[in-house]
């Protein structure tokens, strides 16, 4: 039995917009064990990134605000820390690190790779400049940057997209965090480079037993790397389980629809009809109601059901499938 690393409970995040208050994350609860890989999937705009940014306390405020919930990392209650407090800054980077889709926006274009890496370490760890540089170069070597001693003096624009993303992984790993969050980290890259990077990320987190949360549109990536998967819809997790549970026995009609959207030879594609609902003035009923092929009369009348345990690690939020009505 592994140890619980991250626990998220009832996390709720809202954005103030011109048209009203949008609830982008709605009572989200999940957990991540040490060394575990958890995939987060769902349509564009369903709240995958905002959930992760909330966990890191990186939501721009205004317009965003975490209005409820708890986040525990290894026993520490993170939402008690102010967003820019010393404690929270210590957590970010040193204990949890994030890798984004576009490395150019997270790397400083005016500073060499080596300096940026050293600064991360001297900020979080009590080590000398010389030591920091040595460790940076060692980390660059571990992510297969050729001639790392020399490349450390490169500026970000002197590297290819794939190399920059490898540098991002190296940076995320510098302080040996317990958790890495990769948000569409390889989406912008070519198929063969993407594969190269994912294998690299996988080998690094495996080596250091770092937990990994992978946010992605790509069901293939989740199928290959994740132990468990959370399916999000309209700001909430509507199904959760091991990848095998989800693939062999998807329960929520949305999850079933999502899996049917993958082109398979000789089978007609059956896309999910319609569009996700607005996040403003959400009705209390099941958010998938309008698009659902399984809806019953009670679905229109009763409030939405919370994510409920079924068997093994499998949970779903579909009341009809849970046999409630």
């Amino acid at each position: 039995m592994s140890n619980r690393l991250l626990t998220v409970e009832g996390l709720t995040t809202e954005f103030r917009t011109e048209r009203g208050v949008a609830r982008a994350v709605n009572k989200v609860s999940y957990n991540v064990d040490e060394g575990e890989i958890v995939g987060i999937v769902g349509e564009s705009g369903c709240g995958k990134s905002v959930t992760q940014l909330s966990v890191m306390q990186l939501i721009p405020n205004p317009p965003g605000r975490i209005i409820a919930g708890k986040v525990w990392l290894d026993g520490a209650d993170l939402l008690k820390y102010k967003r820019d407090s010393r404690e929270m800054r210590g957590v970010r980077g040193a204990r949890m690190a994030m890798v984004f889709q576009e490395p150019m926006t997270s790397l400083n274009p005016a500073m060499t790779i080596g300096r940026q890496m050293s600064e991360v370490m001297t900020e979080h760890l009590k080590i000398s400049k010389k030591e920091a540089r040595e460790r940076s170069i060692d980390m660059l070597a571990q992510v297969n940057i050729p001639d790392p001693g020399k490349r450390a003096d490169d500026y970000p624009h002197q590297m290819s997209g794939g190399m920059r993303q490898r540098v991002m992984i190296a940076m995320a790993m510098l302080c040996r965090p317990q958790l890495i969050i990769a948000d569409e980290a390889t989406t912008a890259l070519d198929a063969t480079i993407q594969a190269q990077l994912l294998e690299l990320l996988y080998s690094v987190v495996e080596k250091y037993r770092t937990a990994l949360v992978m946010v992605t549109h790509n069901l293939g990536i989740v199928a290959r790397y994740a132990n468990r998967i959370n399916v999000m819809y309209a700001g909430g997790i509507i199904e959760s389980g091991t990848v095998k549970e989800i693939w062999s026995k998807p329960m929520h009609p949305y999850t079933q629809g999502l899996l049917r959207c993958v082109p398979r030879l000789g089978e007609k594609l059956r896309p999910i009809r319609g569009m996700p609902p607005s996040l403003i003035n959400r009705p209390g009923t099941c958010p998938f109601l309008a698009r659902c092929g399984e809806r019953r009369e009670n679905c229109y009348r009763e409030p939405a059901t919370e994510l409920t345990h079924v068997e093994g690690q499998h949970s779903t939020a579909c009341a009809a499938r849970l046999g409630r009505w």
Partner: protein, 360 residues
């Protein structure tokens, strides 16, 4: 339309006076007579080079060989998939075919006529019979035009209908064809979802009743359920209009497999493998195609659990300075001395399965 062709021939004779242009034209007409009339598109040894300019005088310092000798054809009603690493020349190839670019060398035969070197004014009829759908429906639709006017514009340009009522009917018909309600005609593109916008650009592309649609990453910007909707739409349109052909460019190998009869794999400006979809996906021969297919994770944990992958090392080289010999050799596990010197030709290795590799 018949008079138009005459006008075109005259314009050609008047406009192209220098010897070089004439020679080119003669070459074109010669091949024209031999060309396989049944193909909707024949591309023969196509090359496209872009100059790289530097300094105050914008002197040309180098050339990007974006397309470096590409040949293939598409039959009526066929879908040819086109895959390959970013920057390998897929978009450039599409743009040459539809003649947004004038190719540096080579021949493009469309519906039996050479169009590779024609000037803009001489393309009229072909412009209508061929159209393009882009990745980013936002960027390719005029935000200040209503969706109805967006679809109506090509009808007007090509003078395809006479009066207002006919326009309206035809636009409504195109809306319905792509699964949009004609009620939405007055709405503007920003009021549409990504998937609806892509339907709108397909409606616009279909306005001229084309025989060839070049689809450049038409589903990449959409999310999974929208992707499935748009893929279905392409299938339905072809089922309805039997002679509609597609050149379907995508990095989603599963989508390409789903929709294409044949697939071409490009690497650094060249086709390295071309085969029926079934042959390619069950038995790719070129080391790059193998790696590409292997790189795509299958959306099924039970398959992924046991599947071994080929992981290529190194980055994609630039077409500005492609490696000598086989341009894949620096990343290839099977590369030999010959691969470093000699460029492999695309050869037919098994009735209709073409591969450009010394090893095969």
């Amino acid at each position: 339309m018949v008079t138009m062709i005459n006008a075109e021939t005259n314009a050609e004779a008047n406009a192209e006076t220098n010897a070089e242009a004439n020679a080119e034209k003669n070459a074109e007409t010669n091949i024209e007579t031999n060309a396989e009339k049944e193909n909707v598109l024949d591309v023969v040894d196509l090359k496209m080079r872009f100059p790289v300019r530097r300094g105050l005088l914008r002197r040309m310092v180098a050339e990007v060989k974006a397309i470096d000798g590409v040949s293939f054809s598409i039959k009526p009603g066929e879908t040819l998939g086109l895959v390959g690493e970013s920057g390998c020349g897929k978009t450039t190839l599409g743009r040459c075919i539809i003649r947004l670019y004038k190719p540096t060398e080579g021949l493009i035969m469309f519906e039996g006529q050479a169009i590779s070197q024609r000037g803009k004014s001489e393309l009229g009829r072909f412009r209508r019979r061929m159209s393009m759908v882009f990745q980013d429906p936002y960027g390719s639709l005029n935000p200040r035009m209503s969706s109805g006017d967006i679809v109506r514009e090509p009808l007007e340009i090509h003078k395809l209908v006479d009066n207002r009522k006919e326009y309206k009917e035809r636009v409504a018909e195109l809306f319905t064809m792509v699964g949009l309600s004609p009620d939405m005609m007055d709405r503007y593109p920003h009021e549409f979802s990504g998937g609806q916008r892509q339907r709108l650009s397909v409606a616009r592309a279909l306005a001229g009743d084309p025989s060839l649609l070049i689809c450049d990453e038409p589903i990449s910007a959409l999310d999974v359920s929208m992707q499935a909707q748009v893929l279905n739409l392409f299938g339905e349109l072809q089922a309805r209009k039997k002679n509609l052909s597609y050149l379907f460019i995508s990095h989603d190998l599963l989508a390409v497999q789903y929709i294409s009869q044949r697939v071409a794999v490009m690497y650094l400006g060249r086709i390295v493998e071309l085969a029926s979809s079934a042959d390619l996906y069950s038995g790719a021969s070129h080391p790059y195609s193998k790696a590409l297919l292997s790189a795509q994770p299958r959306p099924d944990p039970f398959i992924e659990e046991t599947r071994d992958r080929i992981i290529l090392e190194g980055d994609v080289p630039t077409p500005l300075n492609p490696p000598a010999g086989c341009s894949f050799h620096p990343r290839c596990a099977y590369s030999t001395a010959r691969c470093e010197k000699e460029t492999p030709e695309l050869r037919d290795v098994a009735s209709g399965h073409f591969v450009a590799c010394h090893r095969v």
